[in-house]
Symmetry: D2
Subunit: 364 residues, 4 copies
């Protein structure tokens, strides 16, 4: 359902063309410095206003924090954030009523919810709903800063173009000031070309985002089912359009021999660590003090202008659909920010669960 | 932790060289036909006794059902299954004390649990623990049969060798009688060669398994966080050595354009369905009446005979480790059976959650 | 935390003098007829506008449904309800800063949350927060109507005055049109006298409410920990000021001999049932087709005008506190409506969990 | 279902006349000193071997710890404990087949589980199942000792006889060496008389137990739904035969005026605390550093030798039942030990949830 997390909990709500979307975040200890500015910064990052082709009608989110914050600090009670939906043109969606867009959640929603599905803008399945995740992620990121952990991400593949250079965490952070957050300048330009090409064709593209969580202490995660890699996988695969998840080198690891795949264990300045970190920062699902990193792949936006084969569910006959509304030529940039948010929520949840962050008293 | 599921719940326990491993399964309605034979069949499938190089000391599991079954039917109460550990030679592990094997959970466990870690056989992180999952999966598979759903899986990649032919569900089932369950005869032989080669080299290999759930009705799964693809991802990534997860065509989808990636919606014998099923049987995380399918990639077994760099944690100095105990040259065949089990648990849980299987009265 | 329920889930938020309180309800199947009027009716019942001494500044709640409803029916997605807080006079609370009111949550909140506690109006611990429960309860009651179940309640004790006549479910419903919902006219008048007396004395009174859920089918509830009586107890004891819970005849049962306490099992119109229902409608925690009924006791409102001994936490010295703000002379009438709401949520949750209400398709 | 707890989790299983009952406890950090002796001590306390009329065939439990402990310390992994069922005479139950005992779970189980119900000894609903809780409670008590908290309980009412003297925690502990743990010598003798009388009459009696948790730090418990009082209520009402729960002075509080009921807040040796503790140690559901105490009432054992009216479900006709098997004349003494266990689990769970006990590293 729309509830996630164990000790750090979020409940999201809202349809794309309804009154509002929003999120309730519970479990945050009292005394965490948190302002609306912290939330706005992350929401703005998600808008990609500096690249018009990605977001032609760029407007900042209008949101309200209804509870849980007092004079710039958390109260220890649920933080409710409402993001008001803008006046939107829903008329483009009239043709789509009972005519599910291929690749979109439409078909599943008609089957499960029938005529009660608010199909305008994709309703509850809209990519817009990730804005609520990003707002929650802003809170989780702030919470992680308490233990010195930080979550950063970038795009590693778009429209089939992959980055092909080494990079540091600083490179990733620097990439945030670019049109799209890509550490490899050449790849970024090729990706932008792919975007323009797809727009021209009335088509869409997918890609992959990578997230790093640095400063994670060892000992987070639990054996069997609450492995960090498992919880990150669930979190990542909850994002609309996510189709694959890799922890560390992922599939590349599965094609190596054991002797190549294993990261040697070494002493680094007197601390035990990994010489390399192909495994992605966890062993047995538990952090070892190395950065945790993972990739998530997103399919292309299902809405395209090209005609597509569907069925008119009311008449039960085939229907050729040509979407005329606005659509994101690729969801990857926005999904990246949502992915960081979900990663922050997962790690902060585990930090609470492990008792690394206490909740019986205010943060100092 | 070692608890999984919402309405169908499992709790696993046990260390590799302790007294026993086991599982408690709760939430199964009363009246489901279930015998020890149903459980044994799945446990036997996991042993791969017919391919000695994979399992040199092949012995069937000794297990006991302690509760929840009465005269061949479930009682509606928790089903507790204990799998007794065999007499095992733990002496091989003496050298490993405080010397974590690279790539293994050892390092994480020493950091989190200290000297309390029962390192023999990998303790709680041992691949052996998947036998408990397989026992639980046997129950879940039986429960799914009530709604006409079936879970089948096969190996699609091993040691870098991939299958390269089309296949049906029947092909997958037929493959179970082969030395390893691979639908492509040529690929299978190449994979077996890779196994032999790795054994000779004292090395190990990884690969990928694919699972299909057929007969799944539409409407299972929930928006936002309890998406089928998200729950399957968590379930799959809980299995030891899992490093990547793909729903449907996964990464391949992310490299297509939208117009290619979208599965056309069509009428099939009067029923709405997908012309193709690249997306893997769910849209918006909810089933649409098509088979659900996904892949999981596993890294090579970390234990290898080649010398590897580690640290003696007691002396805090480098140590070259050469593992002399028994090890699985690849965990993929066993992991496949565990993957089917986890898939069955996830789908049965959602069938209960959706009310498709009732629990206020006995099954008829 | 502020999250409750398994398959029917609620998340509440909000402080008494903050912007708003509210609730997100998730798990409701699509197609349930539900209007703002359904919610308003329950919220109005909680206001007791017809008895001025209980609610001197009676104003209807201003609320908005932000999501989950479409044209008078549920969408199957989370229903978010915001109840805007009125302009309130917080100045009465200035004296209370760092001076916890005896009997109130203040002390616990100062210890747990420190200076981050929004103490105005009792913040998150305010009785006002039960309005959000009542809104959620309106949804749950509507959902229960699908299976023919209904939740009704009345006051059975107030200020030490107890009712002393037999009554039917119809009597309980009729009592809702009285100043306070009491089936016994004489007792009601004596209770009203107690209210007036307490107001005059600047004191407060407690009491007990009883809730009946009729039309509950057999087979709801689970052995061991998800017993109906256990879940109702948790739900009831979550309401501010709740101090005791009894299922059925409760304590009176504990003082009988077994031969008296046991309800004979009989055939009623060919159906198996209980001759009496002292046990409260469940056996072994599972419903048997008889009405489920229970009582909850509430302590008197902690805020009174009489001077009370407390500590000035800032100066760490004793302080005599005399509360000058508005307070409810008794919380029992409002708590009763919240209690019905929580009972409805618990039973509807179990109906979903048992599969009695399906969620893979819209309600018919 | 049979799963309980959030960060400290237990899963119980087993039927009274099946192979075994048992429990899996998960979430305990590594390094906690814990031996089989710790578990045996609590299991022995539950047997009441020194009062033959309560337990004619007193035999110590035969149990095995299957996992989670290594050399006298917890491993941080699930602790599985199996309690083997003794050879028992099930023949007494033949007459009871399809003839539910009034007051017992039988009727509910036949309705929910049909012929799959293992009715011998009450199956899953047997009082015997509390032995598994007691084993888990032994672990939780050990865990609480880490933070200096202790759980003790005594019987405050039996067969209508109530204790009537003041007592200290030490008095409660001293009472454990008496035939039944009652602080008031006169009351104890009167209670023993009631037991003898009930045995003679072939009847049974109920009563009440009180539990104190001392050494609980402030700040445990959460607003809204995870209040300590709510979680204790659920835990207590999960025990077979529990019919009522009171936190602190409970019902007595509800009959006081606010000015009487409120515990004054005072400085005690420089620490803020309550002058009295009528409220039971929590305010707003959160601990304040005072002992937490509560009562639970239990109905008389439903099985009695007197003839009772029931229905033969197979023939659908009335049946007069006279139970001939062994039965506990009162379950209160055993229930008390289970109640302590459940209280320990709840408080330890909250200590973990609040981060008071860490789980990312071994206990020191």
């Amino acid at each position: 359902m729309s509830f996630f997390g164990r000790e750090l909990r979020v409940a999201t709500f809202g349809e794309s063309h309804g009154k509002a979307i929003g999120v309730v975040i519970d479990g945050v200890p009292a005394g965490l410095p948190l302002t609306e500015e912290d939330i706005r910064r992350e929401l703005d990052r998600r808008m990609f206003c500096n690249i018009p082709v990605l977001n032609p009608r760029c407007e900042p989110e209008e949101f309200e924090v209804l509870s849980g914050i007092k004079e710039g600090r958390t109260q220890g009670t649920p933080i409710a954030i409402v993001l008001w939906n803008k006046r939107v043109i829903s008329s483009y969606y009239d043709e789509l009523w009972m005519r599910p867009r291929p690749g979109h959640a439409d078909l599943a929603y008609y089957l499960k919810y029938g005529a009660n599905y608010d199909h305008r803008g994709g309703g509850r399945a809209s990519g817009r709903t990730t804005a609520a995740l990003v707002a929650a992620g802003a809170v989780a990121k702030r919470l992680l800063s308490i233990i010195g952990a930080e979550v950063v991400g970038h795009i590693v593949e778009l429209g089939g173009v992959q980055i092909s250079r080494e990079y540091t965490i600083d490179d990733i952070k620097s990439s945030w000031s670019k049109p799209i957050p890509v550490v490899d300048e050449d790849a970024m330009r090729a990706m932008l070309d792919k975007i323009v090409e797809a727009v021209k064709e009335g088509d869409s593209i997918g890609g992959a985002a990578e997230v790093w969580i640095v400063g994670v202490p060892p000992g987070l995660g639990e054996p069997a089912f609450d492995k960090i890699k498992a919880d990150l996988a669930k979190a990542a695969m909850s994002i609309p359009s996510a189709v694959a998840f890799e922890i560390g080198a992922g599939i590349r690891l599965s094609r190596m021999k054991g002797s190549e795949a294993n990261d040697p264990i070494v002493l680094k300045n007197g601390k035990v660590g990994l010489a390399t970190n192909k495994v992605g920062g966890t062993l047995g699902g538990i952090t070892v003090g190395e950065p945790v990193w993972f990739r998530t792949y997103f399919k292309p936006t299902p809405s395209v202008r090209k005609p597509q084969q569907t069925v008119d569910l009311a008449r039960r006959e085939p229907y050729m659909l040509q979407f005329k509304g606005r659509y994101d030529v690729t969801t990857v940039p926005k999904a990246l920010v949502a992915l960081e948010a979900m990663a922050a929520i997962v790690i902060a949840d585990h930090a609470l669960r492990a008792g690394l962050i206490r909740r019986d008293r205010p943060l100092q």
